[in-house]
Structures are given as structure tokens and as C-alpha cells.
Assembly symmetry: C2
């Protein structure tokens, strides 16, 4: 094998892929040398490194990840375990999320491996087996809990991961998160500027860490405006339309009903629409409603939902990026990103047209007709 061999011809019909050996003896070198040159070992001279890289590019050589994995143990794949229980209204964003991950992963030459589970127990087992079988080098953990058993598991197993959202104990954690709290306090400020004085908050699932942050944001917003916190204006654990509707009904049936309702989750906000409709009211008129998420249905609802939209595609994208960085050795402290949700002002909120007292009268009048 002389060094002057010409690169292999354009792949004919039954062409085998070019292997590292092909590259090696096209260059007249040992395959070990080619490997080290390609992987940036320091004992390779700059000259040969270049020659190898050029030849590899010319011959369109791409190492097979599973062939590398046998020695390195790394398969260049990110894992994602979906927990699909009851309908929780979050699935609409899934497609974008996956697209975001898959795109980033694809351009880096990595892969996305997805598993599914129904219970947390099941999720943990799936995580364990996927990593034991080395189907994934690390995991993206979506929808983090305040106290997340998945985090505990992966920490114990020393398997890299990155969170979508944060968790109570940040040790060993990389994450991408949206400032949901900030959005909530912005919502309060916006509603106050519209003249609202009684602003309620319908929070999401209490087990998720995000609901803590959003509640804190709501409180911060109240504080900033010099308003007092009232438990009568707070409802927790609404993530579906029904739950949102039920929570809104509770809020509206009080003596001093809120003239504005902030929801931690868009779908709950759509439920609030329904509750209002029961009284013959429409969001954005007598009562303002602001949501959070930016689901597509919000734009199609009547009235169109004002919301703080999160870019789910981008989230997936950044998460993949961060996890790959972590797997490549970046220290976890540098892999923590937060972003802001973008206010999408539509029709479901606006200037206060009635006071709480006036609203109470209207509600009493109309409640006799319905329900």
C-alpha cells in the first residue's frame, strides 16, 4: 500500500461503507494512527493530522457509532423517557419539543432514543435499562418535580442528564428553564396597569417545581404592586380544562370575585373561558384571563388567549445542546440556561370594566340562569 493511492471511486451499487482501514491504507498509514489523528490525540503531528482529515473528508468516512461504542462505551445518543399517564394537556407541545431535540442532535451527528413509561416506577426502570444497555449516553429529563426520583437515580448511577426545568437540589444538575415566575409577576403588573385590583392565580400541579416558581412570581408581582396575598384568590393543581373550569367557578362564586385570573397553564385558562361562558361572560371583557405556555389552541380559542408563550422547539434544542456538551466533558456549572417566556398579547385580557363588587352582582344574576 503506497501513500499515493487514489481515493475510492464514487460508491457504486453494492458499495460497502468506507471504514477506517480504507482511509488508513489509502494514506499508507496504520489505522490506529488514523483513529488518533481524527480524535485529536496529541502524539500526532499537525501535518499528518491534516492529511488524515482531508482524506477522511474526501472519502466521506464517518465512523459507525456502535463500532466506537464497543470500546468507548459511548454511543452518541441522547435518551428521553416519556411518561404518558392520563391526559394532562401537555402533549400538544411534544411534537415541537421532539423536533427541537432531534434537530440539534441530528446536526451534531448524535441520535435521540426515546422510551415510554406509564408510572414513575416504570420510568425509573426504563431509564436504568436504557443506560445499562447503553442505548443512551445521557438523558433529558422533562417536567421536573420538586423532588425528582429520576434525578436521584441518575445521580446515583453517575449518568449525565439535563433537566427541562429546575429541581430543589441543584447538585450535579444541568438545566434549561424558562423564567415562569418572572412571567407571572409581569402578568400581575400588566393587569394592575389595566386597573384590576383583585387578581387571582390558578396554579398548576403542585408536585412540579415550576408551580413553586410561578407561585413565587405571582406573589412577587403582588408585593411589587403593594397588594396583599389572599388565599381566597389562589387555587392549585389545575392542568386540564376541567380543573381550570372548576377552579374558576370556585373563585367566581366568592363574595369578592377576582376581575382577573392568571393561570400557570394555558389549558387551565381555556377552562376558565368555559367557566365564564357559563355566566354569560367572555374573557377579556368583565374578567381578564392570562395564560402561560403558548399552546396552539390558545390562538384558535374565542376570545384569543393572552399568554406567555414558551418556545418549546428552542427548549428541546438547547437541552440537547447542553446535554451533548455535558457528555463531552463540560463542567455542569456552566450548563445552566434560563430563558424568558414571551408575552403574546391577544384578546382575553384588557382594561378592567367592572369592579369586584359589580362583578359579584352580575355573577349572582346570571348564576340563576345557568348551572
Amino acid at each position: 500500500m503506497t501513500a499515493g493511492m487514489k481515493p475510492k471511486p464514487v460508491s457504486s451499487a453494492g458499495a460497502r461503507r468506507t471504514t477506517i482501514s480504507d482511509v488508513a491504507n489509502a494514506l499508507g498509514m496504520a489505522k490506529g494512527t488514523v483513529s488518533r489523528a481524527l480524535n485529536g490525540y496529541s502524539d500526532i503531528s499537525e501535518g499528518t493530522r491534516l492529511r488524515v482529515q482531508n482524506m477522511a473528508r474526501q472519502m466521506d468516512y464517518r465512523p459507525l457509532s456502535h463500532a466506537q461504542a464497543i470500546r468507548t462505551g459511548r454511543v452518541r445518543s441522547l435518551g428521553l423517557v416519556l411518561q404518558t399517564g392520563e391526559y394532562d394537556g401537555h402533549s400538544p407541545m411534544l411534537a415541537d419539543f421532539l423536533a427541537g431535540i432531534a434537530h440539534e442532535v441530528g446536526t451534531q451527528g448524535w441520535t435521540l432514543t426515546v422510551g415510554a413509561a406509564t408510572t414513575m416506577q416504570d420510568t425509573l426502570a426504563t431509564l436504568k435499562s436504557l443506560s445499562e444497555e447503553r442505548k443512551a449516553d445521557g438523558f433529558i429529563i422533562p417536567r421536573t418535580y420538586t423532588n425528582d426520583p429520576r434525578v436521584d437515580l441518575l445521580r446515583r448511577l453517575e449518568i449525565p442528564f439535563v433537566l427541562y426545568g429546575r429541581t430543589q437540589d441543584p447538585q450535579d444538575c444541568a438545566w434549561y428553564d424558562i423564567h415562569g415566575g418572572e412571567a407571572m409577576s409581569d402578568a400581575v403588573a400588566r393587569l394592575v396597569s389595566f386597573g384590576h385590583r383583585r387578581i387571582a392565580f390558578i396554579n398548576g400541579g403542585v408536585e412540579y417545581y415550576y408551580s413553586r416558581l410561578r407561585l413565587a412570581g405571582y406573589y412577587a408581582g403582588l408585593d411589587q404592586e403593594g397588594m396583599t396575598r389572599e388565599s381566597a384568590l389562589l387555587r392549585q393543581g389545575a392542568v386540564t380544562e376541567e380543573q381550570g373550569e372548576a377552579a374558576a367557578l370556585e373563585l367566581l362564586h366568592q363574595d369578592s370575585p377576582p376581575t382577573a385570573i392568571i393561570c400557570a397553564v394555558d389549558r387551565a385558562a381555556l377552562g376558565v373561558f368555559r367557566a365564564l361562558r357559563r355566566f354569560g361572560l367572555t374573557a377579556g371583557q368583565e374578567v381578564s384571563v392570562i395564560g402561560y405556555d403558548g399552546i396552539a389552541e390558545g390562538a384558535f380559542a374565542r376570545p384569543q388567549l393572552t399568554t406567555f408563550a414558551v418556545d418549546t422547539y428552542k427548549a428541546g434544542n438547547r437541552l440537547a445542546h447542553l446535554l451533548i456538551a455535558r457528555l463531552l466533558g463540560s463542567p455542569v456549572e456552566g450548563l445552566r440556561e434560563t430563558d424568558v417566556a414571551a408575552l403574546v398579547a391577544r384578546d382575553s385580557d384588557g382594561p378592567a370594566k367592572v369592579t369586584s363588587e359589580e362583578l359579584a352582582v352580575i355573577l349572582r344574576q346570571n348564576s340563576t340562569q345557568n348551572t
Copy 2:
């Protein structure tokens, strides 16, 4: 190494996985023998096969798929490339679909690798690279077109695949499909039995093969009832709420409006609701509406949508099953399953309360107020 060695102790802290060599010399055999015993070679006696299998189970030996892949070229992974373009209303089912695939795949010891693309061009490139890099042994092709370039590509590359839905040329194709056509003709029959005489059909995207089948089903239903086909009662290409709403408005603005509307897609049916609401009408009263898909929103809509529900989880499940079978060597002809959609009778359809003529009058009256 004697044959009587005891199995390795329960994995301690830094325990390596058990390899095939571990099993081999626990049994005092050559590793090649173990491999052949486990893979059902015929030159292994029944006795040793049993001994090997037992020992493997005892030692919890599971071969690493990427280690096998290096020789076999098969990684035991199914590929799925999502095409995420504009919001087409189909994403809600995605979570269930993935769960169905992932579950089947998981229990068989396989994996699901997902990619994403925005355009068809992109999808084809992704399919090609995923298979070239051997990230997937075969593909699940969702949302089949009448004439599907993905099928052409995979056929040409001789890569196994299975379709969710059918396509024009069945050569080399395995599939799982729902009898959408049957559902549509059932819908016609149901509406006729309710006394409806003018029944319209709002079809889905014309490029998909399913819309041909559903249209044919609608026609078959009409034929069976001795009704004539009228192009005035047919609209095509509605997959979103807006498109459904627009199509319904067109249908209702005619001189002889339909008293019942069948939609090939639930989301379009929800759009029809909105169109009716514009006229102060509600589905299930003056006009009956029947959808197809069984999306969760249908149950939450007011009125609740009568629809033919497809079990998306099951679809994913069966598709994974079929593809794995195909990859294991089953002839493609035996890998074609069809299932039926289940009628979920709710509130959006019912006995005809007005004739088309009466409806026309109502619509004319109300159209002056709205729009």
C-alpha cells in the same frame, strides 16, 4: 476453568456487566458456542442449549446490541422520522403513538430512534442518513401519501419499513391501517337512520391516501342508502379548525344546506362547531356533526363530539410489532393489519329536527346578525 463454577455474585459496586465470555467460562465452554446456543444455531445439542440459556439467565446476561451490530449490522432499533411542519392538528395523538411504539419496542428489547425534519426533502435525507449510520434497522412511516417518496426511497435502498396507513402501490409494503372508509360509510348510515337526507362530507388533506379511502367510504355509504353524490356537499383538504370552519361556512351558505356534516378529521369537526355557532346554532341540534380521530378535545368540546375514535396507542404498538417481525424475516405479505375505528356516540349528532329547506331559512335569518 471448570464447568462447576458458581455464577458470579450479585453485582457489587463497580461491577462490570456480564459478558458472553463470563458466561462461557462459567460453563467451561468457548464463547462462540455460547453465542450459537443463544442464537438458535442447529449445530448445538438440546442439552447444552438449555444449560447455556439457564446460566445466561442466572447471570443476567444480556448482549449489548451495539456489540452485536458490529458484526451483524443490526442494532435492534426502529426508526421514526417526524415531519413537523405547520400546525396540522395531528400532534395531539403523537404522545400516544410514541408510547405505543416505545412500549412494544421496550418489551422486545429493541429501541426507538427518532429523527425530525421539516420538509419532505429533509425527511428523505434523514431516513437515508439514519440507515446509513445504522442507527435504525427499519422505519415506521406515519401519515402515508398516495404516492409516497419515502416508500420509494426505502424500497430502492432495500430497507424494511412499515406504513401507518396504506399507499397506492402495495409492493414491498407492510402496514397497519384503520378502516377509515368503513367508518365514513357507517357515519352516513347512522345519519340516514336519524332522518338526515342531505349529508355533507368535509375531507382531509388530499395528498394523503387516507382521504381517498374515506371519500370512497362516504360515497359507498351514500350508494348503499340510495342517495346521490353531489359535489355541492363535498369539501376537501380541511385538517385544522379554521379550514373546517371555512368549509362548513361554504356548505351552509348554499341554497340547500346539509343538515348533517361528516368530517374526515376531528379537528375540522371542531371547526364546524364554530361555524354553526356563528349562526347561533349548536351541533347536534339543527345540524349533526360526526368526526373521525378521537382526539381528546372532542370529549371536552361543547357539545361533546360524536366521532370514530382510533386507538393511536394500539396503532403504534402494532406497527412496532409488525416492523420487528419483518426485520426478523417474516414475509411482508403476512404483515398487513387493518383495524376498525370505534364509534363514540356523544352529543354532536342526533335525529334530524329540521329539513334542509327549514335550515336554509334559519341560516338566512341568523346570517344577518353575525359574520
